[in-house]
Amino acid sequence: MLHAFGYWVTRYRRTWRGSIVINVLNPLLFLIGIGAGLGALVDDNAPAQIAGVSYAAFFAPGMLAAAAMQNAFLEGSAGVARAAGFGAYRSATPTPLNPEQLAAGHLLFITFRVLIASAAFIVVMAAFGLIGGWWALGALLGATLTGVAFAAPAAAWAVGVRKLRHIDTVFRFVIMPLYMFSGTFFAVSQLPEWIRPVSYLLPLWHGVELCRTLSLGTATITGSSVHIAYLLTLAVGGFLVARVTYRRRLHP
């Protein structure tokens, strides 16, 4: 597993500077644009709707979780499908490494990438005074777990995908709508009542809630445990399925 991980790190060494710049710039622009622009509008007109904090403080942890989801999904789907079709998995298949080890090594690397990107995001949040202290560490782990909960099932599916446009379709029709119904930009309590139970089933909602309560300091043991259990189930379940699908694709 570590040798497979090592491959991705070797590649990352060529591109990490650029990718860190993006990891910092992205949330910076988002927080300036949404936090200061849209946030001013929201705060002036409907301050009570969002738990009595500034819109920026409400929105930032939601975006943290959603960004972790998006990065992890893309790396876990398109990255995996490419590696399985004509990339790293193919060159490693004739070596002693097993398909299961290739899955574990790549997921470990994706976890590492999500961790770095989330850390950059949280540093920017802290610079805006939106998070601080030990809560930041909690939010970092929460965001990383959210990412893995998407990366593992995505990898389990994508290793068998032969047409990359299928990934585009899933991104557009599954991942993007999750933003809307998981309380990223606005609280789920603002949605019509009948649709709220659906939100509570969505994995991103659990990620957003976990990160938001940790970042606002309102987390409870029970609430956080439920979110963590839900996300862990997805991550572990995804990995167990990936072990099977990786072998099926790489050792046909």
């Binding site: 040798h3 497979a4 090592g6 491959y7 070797t10 590649r11 060529r14 004509f86 990339g87 790293a88 193919r90 060159s91 490693a92 298949t93 004739p94 070596t95 002693p96 490494l97 097993n98 790489l250 050792h251 046909p252």
Partner: protein
Amino acid sequence: MVSEHPLVEARDLSKVYPPRGSTAEFHAVDGIDFEVQRGESFGLLGPNGAGKSTTMRMIAATSPISGGSLRVLGMDPMRQGPEIRARLGVVTQDDYLDNELTVRENLHIYGRYFSLPRAVIRDRATRLLDFAQLQEKAGDQVETLSGGMRRRLTIARSLINEPDILLLDEPTTGLDPQARHILWDRLFQLKQQGVTLILTTHYMDEAEQLCDRLIVVDHGRIVAQGSPRELITRYATREVLELRFRLDDRDTATEKLRTSALATGGSDTDGRVELLADRVLVYTADGEAALAAVHAMSLTPLTALVRRATLEDVFLTLTGRSLIE
């Protein structure tokens, strides 16, 4: 002790791919037997889709067998895959090199997959780059290499673990003639060093150059086996007369030939006539005499060529089809 046993031993080996979507169940390999001894250079010759690559994957312990038995280096590929793969070198049809990494980094990463210490990889990489004539390219990104260089790098990479057996799947497909000859030279050098080679090819000249012994496969079955020389002696005549006719009198000419003494052999028991899309082949012990007979029938071919029989002719005899279609 191990050298007493064959390095690879297949008995009634088969591979069935289950039905997938609209494609029916497919018997890629349909009960084949063969052995490969240490130091031997063994070939699988056959057209595309004959089951060569599937057989190679089963030997490489990257595809489970469906039936029969297979031993590789005395081990069971189904249960000891990683142990077997640790001692094999594999050159796949597509090279799957990492374009974004340098030549040396590609070797390094690959060596790490075998858990080799960094210092060992460094030493071997230097030697292998020498062997592959890529010393000057060591620091270049793989993207900049030519097709022949990529292939040589793939072979160098496959040798990083000093394998007992080197598996090569269509090693020179897609290369220009000069690059092929350089590659053959490298492979011949490995053969001289006693490395056991197993290779698939649909080029008869490649099989003749590199293989001590080969099996001819078609539709997942073995149709013949032996050394290239033996196969030619057994399944083809000493010489072949190749004739091309003008389009408008091709049909009458081939009809005449088919009913002539040349087709039934006459005094020459193995003699016969094969009609291909673009030419007519006359199998005979004496090509010049056959050509004289053709002229005596008052046929005037556009071109006439007398050559030695090759493995291509063997394949044609056995299956009634050309290797490359």
